[in-house]
């Protein structure tokens, strides 16, 4: 009998993952601002404090450096910790602890000390929040050996990847997208995990591979639907985790279609899109029928005014236009 599916929102899928894992593992402690009785700025911990109490849901003041260091220290001593930075932008206050301490400890200690900490936050330009609440800094973490970087796009992946992240023994940077919190999707009733490092092909196609993570998966899927009307068959791949990156599955798609466009909400310089383009050049060079494309946010700080902000982030229209141009050559 096929398993029952039910609808759930992206944010509630995260809450469900936390509830299941906190029941399963009594050493999990959750640290962050407003994550206790308030249930999280984005309702991302709603109801958990009522079940697990303020001992395990540790509300903090606004002090990401200390809170993150405390979470890492707790993880080093035998707990499993989640620290919620709320906005990815705020994790920069704690970057020295994440990069210089958490990411190094296992290696420098010769595998003797582990830091099983999930650094959770939300990214992305939403409702004109401006440059201090909108950025997509995942590339900075992805370039640090010792960290895994997870960027779920769907409720199914939020739940499965968050549960897997909470069973990793190394630090995981878990980044949700603010614009996706209210989106809905189907998940099974029973328990499931999504392993880190497995890309998912969301749409099969013949002519070009569109790679997008997080909210850019939705842009890629909408663009693919529009391109189909022009007779262009696009395959859409979501790597789901930047580190580890599922190079074989991405390469297989590029070899099949012969073309690549990466859609990335971060600016292009030294970023995720460039990494996937490098993968195409290194592993699929002979299969390429055209130059790989990077369709990224413009290299500007996130602007406030709506007509400016809408220019910055890759849009369906921009993706369709650039892919058409590529296909004409």
């Amino acid at each position: 009998m096929p398993e029952q599916l039910r609808e759930i929102s992206y944010v509630d899928a995260g809450v469900e993952a936390l509830r299941e894992e906190m029941r399963r593992d009594s050493t999990i402690v959750y640290i962050g601002q407003g994550i206790g009785p308030r249930g999280g700025n984005f309702r991302q911990t709603r109801g958990l404090c009522q079940e697990f109490g303020e001992e395990r849901l540790r509300d903090t003041g606004i002090c990401e450096l200390g809170a993150t260091g405390v979470a890492i220290g707790a993880a080093m001593a035998g707990s499993r910790a989640i620290v919620d930075e709320v906005f990815l932008d705020f994790s920069l206050e704690a970057m020295t602890q994440i990069i210089q301490q958490a990411a190094n400890i296992c290696y420098s200690s010769n595998g003797k000390i582990h830091a099983p900490v999930v650094v959770r936050s939300a990214m992305g330009a939403v409702r004109n929040a401006g440059p201090h609440h909108s950025h997509c800094f995942y590339g900075w973490y992805a370039s640090t050996p010792g960290l895994k970087v997870v960027t779920p796009a769907t409720p199914y992946d939020v739940k499965g990847l968050l549960k897997s992240s909470l069973r990793e023994n190394c630090p995981v940077i878990f980044i949700e997208h603010k614009a996706l919190y209210n989106t809905k999707g189907m998940i099974p009733d029973g328990e499931y995990l999504v392993p880190l490092g497995e890309a998912r092909v969301h749409r099969e196609g013949r002519d070009i591979t569109l790679v997008g993570i997080s909210k850019m998966l939705n842009i890629a899927l909408e663009a693919a639907a529009a391109l189909e009307k022009d007779g262009i068959s696009a395959e859409v791949v979501d790597p789901r985790t930047i580190v580890p990156l599922d190079r074989p599955r991405i390469a297989a798609s590029i070899k099949k279609t012969g073309r690549l466009a990466v859609i990335d909400e971060a600016p292009a310089m030294c970023g995720f899109a460039g990494e996937v383009v490098a993968l195409a050049c290194e592993e699929c060079f002979d299969a390429l029928d055209g130059p790989p494309l990077r369709i990224c946010s413009l290299p500007v700080p996130s602007p406030f005014s709506p007509p400016l902000e809408s220019q910055v982030i890759p849009s369906v229209e921009r993706v369709v236009k650039e892919v058409r141009k590529l296909m004409e050559n």
Partner: protein, 326 residues
């Protein structure tokens, strides 16, 4: 606030404190020699002159208690019980230490001895130790966590945020500031207006204690009170141990450009090891024979450590990518 007070203490412990301080001193002088001969890679920051702090504090700890150290951390590792030969092997980049040569002086870990690491980032151990104390509290392990840091750390955000967490959550952690008056070359009095570190404890509503960091018994007593308080659920204490490094900031810095010769000599005249030796012989009834025997044994100990570390194998290049992800 109250000063650390001394109390009657048994003879065996006194001799142990002397032995350990001497081990720390002789170890660092040997490291200095080996480094100057070009045998040790990297950079080393020596603990010469500050031995009474690490020994006075750690002599109160259980093997399962945890400590977090600093860039000047060889002494802390030894005082917590990490074997000298393993510490030296790590400084040599050899495989026979707990960290297998992957960390070196400033990134050395030996969790099997409760040694949670030296640290190349000033102040970084303060939030980490606070978090480990949270874990101990939540898991009810009965452990106490001690973090050492210098005066250079106390103007950082890590100090403020870490102590604030330790205080508000009443965690079993002891904050030990080794105030040696200089952060690299920067005099503490030039870096801050309030030069009393212990007075900052009031900002977090925890006890602050100032203690003579050259007096191992005073440090021992102050640390014992703080550790007992932490273990019994009474929360953290900030201890300020006034101390001094007899050497430069790192090996290679003569340490004289920013400190007067008179100041250095004045502190050396209160050498924690020599003054304690005199006290043992004069006031505590220790025999010259027992003290000299310790001194001979420490020499043998350091020579054996050198031989062990020198003869230990280097890591195989093929292992370079091991342990990046656990």
């Amino acid at each position: 606030m109250e000063k650390g007070t001394t109390e009657p203490i048994d003879r065996n412990l006194l001799l142990t404190l002397y032995r350990e301080m001497l081990q720390l001193r002789e170890f660092e002088l040997k490291v200095q020699e080996l480094y100057r001969r070009g045998l040790l890679p990297g950079f080393v920051h020596l603990y010469v002159g500050e031995e009474a702090v690490a020994v006075g504090v750690c002599s109160n700890l259980q093997p399962t208690d945890l400590i977090y150290s600093t860039h000047r951390g060889h002494g802390h590792a030894l005082a917590k019980g990490v074997p000298g030969r393993e510490v030296l092997a790590e400084l040599w980049g050899k495989t026979t230490s707990s960290s297998g040569g992957r960390g070196g002086s400033m990134h050395m870990y030996a969790p099997e001895y409760g040694f949670m690491g030296t640290n190349g980032i000033v102040g970084a151990g303060i939030p980490l130790a606070t978090g480990s104390a949270l874990s101990a509290q939540l898991r009810k392990t009965g452990q106490v966590v001690v973090t050492f840091f210098g005066d250079g750390a106390v103007n950082s955000g890590s100090f403020h945020e870490g102590l604030n967490f330790g205080a508000v959550w009443n965690l079993p952690v002891v904050y030990v500031c080794e105030n040696n008056l200089y952060a690299t070359e920067m005099a503490f009095r030039r870096a801050t207006k309030n030069t009393s570190v212990q007075s900052r404890a009031a900002a977090y509503k925890i006890p602050g204690v100032e203690v003579d960091g050259s007096d191992v018994l005073a440090v021992h007593a102050a640390a014992r009170a703080a550790i007992d308080q932490a273990r019994s659920g009474g929360g953290p204490t900030l201890i300020e141990a006034k101390t001094y490094r007899f050497v430069g900031h790192h090996e290679g810095d003569p340490g004289t450009a920013y400190r007067t010769r008179e100041e250095v000599e004045e502190w050396k005249s209160r050498c924690p090891i020599r003054t304690f030796r005199e006290k043992l012989l004069k006031n505590e009834g220790a025999t010259l024979e027992s003290v000299e025997q310790i001194e001979r044994e420490v020499q043998q100990w350091i020579e054996a450590a050198v031989q062990f570390a020198r003869e230990s194998p280097e890591p195989a290049p093929s292992t370079v990518c091991d342990h990046v992800y656990s």
